[in-house]
């Protein structure tokens, strides 16, 4: 019995040393820590990251918390740092609490950068952005105004009240509305947490409280199905336009039924790809140019050296006409 265990141990230790040595020689490791695992959006980013890992010759680690809990996220980042992963990117849950791990990474010479959700003042190496927060906020308002006019009442349903990226988008929506469309009335954002049921409940109540409501914006991807379902159930399809940052697969049936007018999103798989690519650049010690050629990307990826932002490109708008062309 003990012999067997001993042998198994020796074999595994040897194979690990060999694997470790081989890895150290050839394959740098890039990790991505999402805000939450088990949701389609980050799953798509993982798929893109895996594709990049294969093509660029790196090892890709994808690991995230099961609740949107920043301490759990920090623990995951910290353990990646302890493992000595070459570069770690984080979709930050809370910008203000990431500072301890940034310091720890620096101390070990590990490149820590952000992706998908930023922590601008934390000292991260770079931010791989799907689009600027400003662009995301204003696009959705501009697109909505095209459909409901400038004189409309619009509700906002977000996920966790503590998600700093979602709050930033809401901030830019409000800014865009007050700067460009003074007649537009944005209601106070409501927070549904992570469940579709709560999102549906809150949206129904919003529609009841504001019979003249023209549109509802689902800010977190977790709230999209709830908002859409509430519009369908209330029989307000057509009179209230739903929209949000939802993947085409999640929003497809609602866009077709008319409950959703459109959806704004980028391709998360490409964002995952770009994240891994950026990680490899950082490990290799290569500088980002103002315009970067990334394998598999038709257009060059721009880099804002002043803010340290690598930009995927403008967000895409999915409508009934083009939604079937996308699968993520």
């Amino acid at each position: 019995m003990f012999k067997k265990i001993g042998r198994a141990l020796t074999v595994s230790v040897f194979s690990l040393i060999i694997a470790g040595a081989a890895g150290a020689q050839e394959k740098p490791k890039v990790a991505f820590v999402p805000q939450l695992i088990g949701i389609p959006y980050f799953n798509a980013m993982e798929a893109g990251g895996n594709k990049a890992a294969k093509e660029l010759g790196v090892d890709f680690i994808y690991s995230g918390p099961v609740d949107t809990n920043p301490v759990d996220q920090l623990q995951i980042v910290q353990s990646l740092i302890d493992q000595g992963v070459g570069a770690i990117s984080v979709s930050v849950l809370d910008a203000s609490s990431i500072a301890p791990v940034v310091k720890a990474a620096e101390a070990k010479g590990i490149k820590l950068f952000t992706s998908d959700s930023d922590a601008p003042e934390s000292g991260r190496a770079v931010y791989v952005a799907q689009a600027t927060d400003e662009g995301l906020g204003s696009t959705i308002i501009d697109e909505l105004v095209k459909r409901v006019g400038e004189d409309a009442k619009i509700g906002i349903v977000s996920g966790e009240a503590t998600a700093s990226n979602l709050n930033a988008w809401i901030g830019f929506m409000q800014k865009q509305a007050s700067a460009k469309y003074p007649k537009l009335q944005l209601l106070e954002p409501q927070y549904a947490g992570g469940t579709a049921q709560r999102a549906a409940q809150i949206s129904t109540d919003l529609m009841a409280a504001n019979p003249d409501l023209k549109a509802i914006i689902a800010v977190a991807s977790t709230t999209c199905p709830g908002v859409a379902q509430a519009i369908e159930t209330a029989g307000k399809t057509g009179s209230v336009i739903g929209t949000g940052y939802c993947s085409p697969n999640t929003a497809r049936s609602y866009i077709k039924s008319g409950a959703f007018g459109f959806s704004v999103l980028w391709d998360p798989a490409r964002l995952g790809y770009l994240t891994v690519w950026a990680g490899k650049q950082l490990i290799d010690g290569k500088k980002f140019e103002a315009e970067n050629k990334v394998p598999g990307f038709d257009q060059a990826v721009t880099y804002d050296a002043q803010k340290g932002i690598l930009l995927l490109g403008p967000p895409a708008v999915f409508t009934a006409e083009n939604v079937d062309k996308f699968d993520f």
């Binding site: 695992i37 301890p100 503590t162």
Partner: protein, 318 residues
């Protein structure tokens, strides 16, 4: 008789937990030798501080019996952290921040104690109510946004490491456990806690001030939650309105795993400490091996059931 039962259960659980802990460490060593470094130990201790403090309070409340339980610990941590920062923003000198956090925690805990002991609301329900209220108020007051502006000297304490051991762990978690252990084992207060947990009626008959003791224990649970809140501020550098999320269930898991009987009167703080270490080491180990995080919750759940079953069946064999 009383004494014998007090000793046997916890001793068994403690050895079981230590055995499991050694298995986790050996497993990690076998699968990934590089993972065991001073850095990893620092990480484990740093991340166990909040859970350790909160579980200690939870464990003592349960230990004192009377169906004692504190579901509001997570809410207490969040609200203490947020209130501390809000008061700071309102212009209070940062020097008072530690007192505000710990004071708020104590007050919130004492409120639980009043609900339970004075109004006779069952602990599960009273603290379920305050769980909703505390965590809800923490979110509503801030609108969900984190409150920054923690003074530098506090950060220096919260992020400091001494010989591989995080300073906050050394300066609050360890003393808190040592003190609780000593009080429970060697003072009349400690014996009262066991006595009232084991058999409330006889404890009352021999003159143990059950109500006062329990009120103090609920406040103490709040104090420890307040200390955890202070540590979270000093470590993260901001007050988060949901920092205590899930702590109620996690601390309950740790206390149960640590051999504290849900009916009270049985168990010890050593077991709770071992359970917290086991939980955090297990989590860290699984992360180091890059095991998908979805398995963590399931493994912890299975572990809880397993340890309780082992404890239960060892009793029926006796």
């Amino acid at each position: 008789m009383n004494r014998v039962r007090n000793l046997q259960g916890p001793a068994l659980v403690l050895s079981l937990l230590s055995l499991l802990w050694i298995i986790v460490i050996l497993g990690l060593l076998a699968l990934k030798p590089s993972a065991l470094s001073v850095g990893t130990i620092t990480t484990i201790l740093q991340f166990s501080t909040i859970l350790a403090l909160v579980s200690l309070g939870q464990g003592m409340v349960i230990l004192a019996g009377g169906a004692g339980i504190d579901l509001s610990v997570g809410g207490t941590v969040s609200l203490s952290a947020v209130l501390g920062m809000l008061v700071l923003k309102a212009g209070l000198s940062p020097f008072f921040l530690p007192f505000v956090c710990i004071g708020t925690g104590t007050a919130l805990g004492a409120f639980n104690g009043v609900l339970v002991m004075k109004l006779r609301i069952l602990p599960l329900i009273a603290t379920l109510g305050t769980f909703f209220v505390y965590s809800g108020v923490a979110l509503s007051l801030t609108g969900g946004s984190a409150q920054s502006g923690v003074p530098d000297w506090l950060l220096w304490w919260g992020r400091g490491v001494l010989a591989g051991i995080p300073v906050p762990f050394l300066t609050i978690a360890v003393p808190a456990f040592a003190l609780a252990g000593i009080v429970l084992a060697w003072t009349s207060w400690g014996r009262w806690v066991y006595a009232m947990g084991f058999n409330e009626r006889s404890a009352r008959l021999v003159g143990v001030p059950v109500d006062r003791a329990r009120l103090i224990l609920y406040s103490l649970s709040g104090t420890l939650a307040g200390a955890a809140a202070l540590f979270s501020l000093a470590w993260l550098g901001s007050g988060r309105p949901n920092i205590g999320q899930n702590l109620e269930l996690e601390s309950l898991t740790a206390a149960m795993l640590g051999g504290i009987a849900i009916f009270g009167g049985r168990g010890g703080v050593g077991g709770v400490f071992a359970a917290v270490m086991l939980l955090v080491t297990l989590k860290t180990g699984l992360l180091q091996l890059n095991v998908n995080t979805v398995w963590q919750v399931g493994i912890v759940g299975a572990l809880l059931i397993f340890v309780l079953l082992a404890d239960r069946f060892s009793q029926s064999w006796r």
